[in-house]
């Protein structure tokens, strides 16, 4: 008998990937578990919406004043120049950094953090940036750490170097013609100029939408001590276009 908490974690996208198959099979074989799975999906979405809606409201002035005070506490996340080899992931061209400490993005907020840019000699410099970042309100980041490692660092760094718009442009034009385990090359490039490749690993339905899970074809190094993180993206078709519904990280 599958533990109900496993069903919840599967619905939330936080179940370790090695347990997916067993839980998925159990859900498919048992209508009660399927109902429970749908129920967890529903409450997960409701709680997510509730949190996001509350967070979208402006703070009272006294709290805004305190926010301005604590902002000054921030210290540089990293300040390196020269041979800054940032994870060998994407070509640095996107500053989509979110408030990853919550693992959920809130649409349209200001960030005050570092972005990296690609120098002509293929070395990176890191610079301070303060700019408004628009991230999808419905985008969920769901992590599945097995240890007490700093998931938020990995999440932050993933989104710092992931051009979601470019990815969606690439995938919308071809995903419907792909079969399971098909691999496709995106226009995203890693630091060595190599095209980033993705694999279609699952077709599923969520809240009546056609969804697909695609994963990076190899583990990503998302923090300085990361030995390799498997990253998959759930994308769902909404108004004839696929949108990212969750990002799953596991080791």
């Amino acid at each position: 008998m599958i533990d109900e908490t496993k069903i919840m974690q599967y619905a939330d996208g936080t179940l370790p990937i090695e347990e997916h198959e067993e839980v998925k099979r159990a859900i498919e074989a048992d209508p009660k578990l399927k109902e429970l799975y749908s129920s967890f999906q529903e409450t997960g979405d409701l709680l997510f919406k509730l949190g996001n809606e509350i967070k979208s409201k402006p703070l009272p002035q006294n709290l805004q004043d305190k926010a301005n005070i604590i902002k000054s506490w921030e210290k540089p996340l990293v300040k390196e120049t020269g041979s800054f080899n940032f994870f060998g992931l994407f070509k640095i061209q996107y500053a989509g950094v979110a408030a990853a400490f919550a693992m959920f993005f809130v649409g349209g907020f200001y960030t005050n953090t570092f972005v990296a840019s690609l120098d002509g000699d293929n070395k990176k410099t890191v610079m301070m940036a303060t700019q408004k970042i628009d991230t999808p309100k419905e985008l969920k980041l769901r992590g599945m750490p097995n240890t007490d490692e700093d998931l938020s660092t990995r999440v932050t760094n993933l989104y710092r170097y992931f051009d979601e718009e470019q990815f969606l442009n690439d995938i919308n034009s071809r995903i419907d013609n792909m079969n399971l385990n098909d691999e496709f090359e995106s226009s995203l490039e890693d630091n060595d100029g190599k095209k980033v490749r993705f694999i279609l690993v699952e077709n599923f339905n969520a809240n009546g939408n056609d969804c697909k899970k695609v994963k990076f074809n190899e583990p990503l190094k998302l923090s300085s001590n990361d030995q390799g993180t498997d990253v998959s993206l759930d994308i769902c078709k909404i108004n004839n276009n696929y949108e990212i519904s969750s990002i799953n990280l596991s080791k």
């Binding site: 967070k55 604590i70 506490w73």
Partner: protein, 162 residues
């Protein structure tokens, strides 16, 4: 965990405060109290690896202090750890201060009718905390307990919303 300290950090505390207050007070006041504490203890906490947990625990302490001062209750649980009902209906509610969609208002209203532990864990989930973070701020010994509590509370929530 390294927090990004800005207005989004404070907004996440507002969500969590809702779970702590259980609709019996103004969560903004609780957040304000926790922020004043953090700011006045800047040297102690600015480098803390999980400043959010510090803020949450402070909010819980402030809430309990407030209850005791108002002589409404000396504890939130009885000797066996069961939830006690806290009666203080006169205080302002966040729904008086911010307008939520009908759907979110309904969910929040239902959550506020649930037990103390469910309210807390559901709002922590709503804020987006991971299980590990929830375990830290709820000070529950095992991760399995947090998981089963959240699972049971979500099933209860689903039933109440039906």
């Amino acid at each position: 965990m390294t927090e990004k300290l800005d207005e989004n950090f404070i907004k996440s505390l507002v969500v969590i405060a809702l779970g702590i207050m259980r609709g019996k007070g103004d969560p903004y006041d609780l957040v304000n109290g926790a922020m004043e504490y953090l700011i006045s203890n800047k040297e102690k906490y600015m480098d803390h690896p999980n400043i959010k947990a510090i803020a949450v625990l402070k909010m819980k302490g402030l809430f309990i202090d407030g209850i005791r001062k108002n002589q409404k209750m000396t504890s939130m649980t009885d000797d066996e750890g069961n939830d006690l009902q806290i009666v203080d209906e006169k205080q302002a509610d966040i729904s008086d201060k911010i307008s939520l969609s009908d759907e979110c208002n309904k969910v929040l209203s239902v959550i506020k009718t649930m037990g103390e532990k469910c309210q807390e864990v559901l709002m922590l989930a709503s804020e987006g905390m991971s299980m590990q973070e929830m375990q830290e701020v709820t000070q529950v010994k095992s991760l399995g307990t947090v998981l089963s509590r959240l699972s049971n509370c979500r099933k209860e929530l689903k039933g109440l919303l039906a």
